[in-house]
């Protein structure tokens, strides 16, 4: 009985995680080394060349690079890490969300 309950919890958790991944339309990345417009320009150019990319937003103040994905498509974390390394920057974290790029563009930068 105990095994059934544990299995059910694990299955529900996995289902939840996979449906979140499938539903994610945006990848938000914290990137190190973002200090100038040319940095943003290079990253934007590189990510826009990806087939799964619908739009790109870069915020220097927030150290944020966000990619809006085309419906049903994704870019793996490993591929994102490689793309950013090839652009000369360091990928710190990735997070898949449903945030619209318009919302991210409109969000104020945090005071540091």
């Amino acid at each position: 009985m105990k095994h059934y309950i544990v299995s059910a919890i694990v299955a529900i958790a996995l289902l939840g995680a996979s449906s979140t991944a499938l539903a994610a339309s945006t990848i938000e990345m914290q990137v190190d080394g973002l200090v100038c417009a040319f940095c943003a320009q290079g990253i934007e150019k590189k990510l826009r060349a990806e087939g799964a990319t619908a739009d790109v937003f870069v915020s220097l103040e927030r150290g944020l690079v966000a990619v809006a994905l085309k419906p049903g498509q994704d870019i793996t974390d490993a591929a994102l890490g490689k793309l950013l390394t090839e652009a000369g920057y360091t990928l710190r974290t990735t997070k898949r969300t449903d945030a619209k790029l318009e919302e991210l563009r409109a969000a104020p930068a945090e005071k540091k």
């Binding site: 190190d32 080394g33 200090v35 100038c36 417009a37 320009q41 290079g42 590189k46 000369g88």
Partner: protein, 213 residues
């Protein structure tokens, strides 16, 4: 491979710039007017983020207006090392190339070598750089050392105008200028365009424009 190219770049020998490599598959075009002593234009293409190749033209004139150098050249730039942190970046660049020099105080055209090293570090609020450029031929030997410190009065994002106040010190050898030439500069950039202008302690203008695409 990168170390080998760095050694190759240094074994050749060149002049000044902001960052000689903007981004992968990017073209950098730059023009700088340095207080009547230096005029330089450059265009570079970067196949990778860590190196670029291109050409430039350098005109040097000493402060007493007794001689000039005109040097068209080809040059390679290498990003030797980059440090990325959450709010800052630092770089070491090396560059070198070959040119054909003409001068008002010697006959004909001389093979000229150029080489340089640059260290820079910046965040969205502060900036510092140190750079050494050499220009050599059988007829002359000039070195131009440049140090800059910059402060931005506000943090700038990608789509906003960035404003910097920059203090510069420059030292020339080979009879170009005696002592240290100081300058105060205002630097603006937004998107692909960078514009900088200021004045030296002798009252001469200094300006630079750079465009990346």
């Amino acid at each position: 491979m990168r170390n080998y190219i760095a050694l190759l770049a240094l074994s050749c020998a060149t002049p000044a710039a902001a960052k000689p490599i903007a981004f992968q598959n990017g073209v950098t075009m730059m023009a700088e007017y340095g207080a009547g002593t230096m005029l330089e234009t450059q265009a570079f293409y970067a196949p990778q983020y860590w190196y670029s190749v291109g050409a430039g033209y350098l005109r040097l004139e000493d402060e007493d207006r007794t001689f000039t150098r005109d040097i068209p050249y080809a040059r390679a730039n290498l990003l030797v090392k980059r440090w990325n942190t959450p709010g800052a970046q630092a770089n070491v660049f090396a560059y070198g190339g070959l040119g054909a020099a003409r001068g008002s105080d010697f006959e004909g055209t001389e093979l000229a070598t150029n080489a340089g090293l640059q260290f820079d570090a910046e965040s969205l609020r502060w900036y510092g750089s140190a750079k050494v450029d050499w220009q050599r031929s059988d007829e002359f030997d000039h070195r131009i050392d440049t140090a800059q410190l910059g402060i931005a009065p506000y943090k700038h994002d990608y789509n906003k105008l960035a404003t910097w106040v920059v203090l510069q010190g420059r030292h020339y050898t080979g009879g170009l200028y005696d002592g240290i030439e100081a300058a105060v500069l205002l630097r603006f950039f937004r998107g692909p365009l960078w514009v900088e202008a200021g004045v030296t302690n002798d009252g001469y203008p200094q300006a630079m424009v750079m465009f990346n695409y």
